[in-house]
């Protein structure tokens, strides 16, 4: 486990320009962004502000146009493209707005799928993880029979499957009611506080702030003083 306060995600002068139509769009403009172990960082901002772009670059899903990105000390902007999947698998856990579970697999197998080792052993570890999130009784249920909150907890279990140092959550509670929202955010905060993960959450929902250790406002590809941030 990475020690608390140790930087897990470091982004230096990161820019991203999309120029597919000949009309360049500056999604990120020389952004510096660090997240430490044990920290829950909330990113807020209007639609199109560059939040998801930042998250995908932080998760080594795409490369920045300029700048450097380090995950757990590895400069992912310097490694070969073909090596990025392995880095994502071992160091990053993703939680998506739409859960993105595999419909054909049970909750248990959705988690076991991303693990390494024999199927029996993987299922054993996946069950432990699912039970730790209070979903043991739903382990053999397929996603279409799970509630939104249950699906998101399975997604959290999948994100934790390979014991990553960095958890990136894109609007993890936007499809949940108030009760489920608190449940999922409590789990995410526990990942940081109890397990020492670095957690980055993107959300439009101000209720998430009370679960975050830090809130940043991103607008026009830059961090700015947000008008609605209640406090950091």
């Amino acid at each position: 486990m990475t020690q608390p306060s140790q930087p897990v995600l470091v982004m230096e002068k990161v820019s991203k320009v999309f120029d597919e139509t000949g009309d360049p769009v500056h999604a990120l403009d020389s952004v510096d962004f660090n997240v430490n172990a044990g920290e829950v960082c909330l990113l807020m901002g209007p639609s199109g502000s560059g939040k998801t772009t930042l998250l995908t670059i932080a998760g080594a899903l795409q490369r920045p146009t300029a700048g450097r990105v380090f995950i757990d000390g590895t400069e992912v902007t310097a490694v070969d493209q073909s090596d990025l999947p392995a880095i994502r698998k071992s160091k990053v856990g993703f939680i998506f707005q739409h859960f993105n579970l595999i419909p054909a697999l049970t909750a248990l197998d959705n988690v076991a799928l991303v693990m390494s080792g024999g199927l029996k052993e993987r299922r054993g570890r996946a069950l432990e993880l699912i039970e730790s999130l209070g979903l043991g009784h739903r382990a053999r249920t397929r996603p279409r029979h799970l509630s939104g909150g249950e699906k998101q907890r399975v997604a959290i279990a999948r994100a934790l499957a390979n014991d990553p140092v960095l958890i990136l959550a894109d609007e993890p509670v936007s499809n949940l009611d108030a009760a489920r929202l608190g449940e999922v955010l409590t789990q995410l905060r526990r990942l940081a506080y109890d397990l020492g993960k670095a957690v980055v959450i993107i959300s439009h929902d101000h209720r998430v702030q009370e679960f975050a250790t830090r809130t940043l406002w991103l607008e026009d590809g830059r961090f700015q003083d947000g008008p609605h941030i209640l406090g950091n």
Partner: protein
């Protein structure tokens, strides 16, 4: 990995069933075509290959049993000379002239008030052999007699089954009536079957006075047939050609199957393409339907190689299931078809089944090509979209 492929396939039962059925039909078609070729190959070559004739002597230009353009003398100075040579040669165990002539044979179905009615036309290979040596005669007699004397014939059992000819029936050939006295096996050339008569009677009926088609020679054990053939041709290189049994059988097979083979290869190629297209379309549509899942897998850290293996695995499972179903159906229906259509002679060999299985695997991998290209182009960032 197999877990995800299996579960994905099981959630698409209709797609799976359609695909497996399409591939099974392709495998069935390929298997039947190959088996038909093998069956014909076996049938066509059997008579010459299993005869006790070691060397076939023909006139120049004739090179197989069916293209019987050969004409050799049995009278006159050349014939006397040749007969003396064969009779005196220490390596010759026996020899005899043999007439082979494709012709229409008619079954006489009824004779009423002195008038007669010709029945069904039978496409036959009329053979005149010497019952004393038996060379070129019936291979295995299964009913009645194996020696045909004047006015008598022995028919192949395939002809008997195909046309309902029985012992005691009268057939008309070369303007003469012949009574069936026996049935034999091994003379089925698929499109035509053998009818055996006495050489001299056949010679007279066909107007081949002083001539025959082949000299059928049986050699003493241990004699090199090729050397003997060379030796005999040296005596009259402009008048005769000699072939060993294997050469003559091979030439006969080639005459029948040589024209069929290119057609067969084309149809086999088409069947392969159809099977590959069925598998490819199914895997492709399935890949499109599951694009988001492949994107998720990419996002959470699975490399392209893993995803390609998933696609190939799915394709292989479908085609192997289709192969199993197709082969089972082929084994089940082949005897039934042969029963109704005697010319549909099939021989399913395990070597061919293995070959078809290999072709099926190639089909599966080739069918995965386009889906793999699609996956390669997938952007994992797309899974962040709604």
């Amino acid at each position: 990995m197999l877990l995800l492929t299996r579960e994905n396939l099981l959630t698409e039962k209709t797609r799976l069933a359609l695909s497996v059925s399409g591939i099974a039909l392709t495998v069935l078609l390929i298997t039947m075509l190959v088996a038909l070729y093998r069956g014909w190959d076996e049938k066509v070559g059997t008579f010459v290959a299993q005869s006790s004739v070691d060397v076939w002597v023909t006139s120049p230009g004739a090179r197989d049993f069916l293209g019987a353009a050969s004409l050799l003398p049995v009278e006159g100075p050349d014939a006397v000379d040749a007969h003396a040579y064969l009779n005196d040669h220490e390596a010759v165990a026996a020899w005899s002239p043999l007439i082979v002539r494709p012709m229409d044979v008619w079954r006489i179905e009824a004779v009423v008030d002195g008038s007669e009615k010709q029945g069904q036309r039978i496409d036959a290979l009329f053979i005149g052999f010497d019952p004393l040596t038996g060379l070129g005669g019936p291979l295995r007699v299964v009913e009645g007699r194996g020696d045909a004397w004047f006015g008598e014939i022995i028919v192949d059992s395939a002809l008997s089954q195909r046309y309902g000819v029985e012992i005691g029936d009268v057939l008309r050939a070369a303007g003469k009536d012949w009574t069936v006295v026996g049935k034999s096996q091994g003379g089925d050339f698929v499109g035509t079957q053998t009818v055996f008569a006495h050489h001299d009677h056949a010679q007279a009926a066909l107007g081949m006075v002083g001539a025959t088609t082949f000299y059928a020679v049986s050699l003493v054990d241990g004699t090199d047939a090729r050397e003997f053939a060379d030796e005999i041709v040296e005596r009259a290189p402009d008048e005769i050609v000699a072939y060993t049994r294997d050469e003559f059988a091979g030439n006969t097979r080639e005459r029948v199957l040589g024209d069929v083979l290119p057609l067969l290869v084309v149809v086999l190629g088409l069947a392969f393409v159809v099977g590959m297209t069925v598998a490819g379309l199914t895997v492709y549509t399935s890949t499109v339907a599951h694009s988001r899942e492949y994107g998720i897998l990419k996002a959470v850290g699975f490399g392209d190689g893993y995803l390609y293996r998933l696609v190939v695995e799915k394709s292989v499972i479908m085609t192997v299931l289709g192969f199993g179903a197709g082969i089972l159906v082929a084994f089940a229906i082949a005897p039934l078809i042969t029963n109704y259509v005697p010319q549909f002679v099939v021989h399913i060999r395990w070597q061919d089944v293995c070959g078809i299985f290999g072709a099926t695997l190639v089909m599966a991998v080739a069918a995965a090509y386009l889906p793999i290209r699609r996956i390669a182009d997938l952007d994992p960032v797309s899974v962040f979209a709604a």
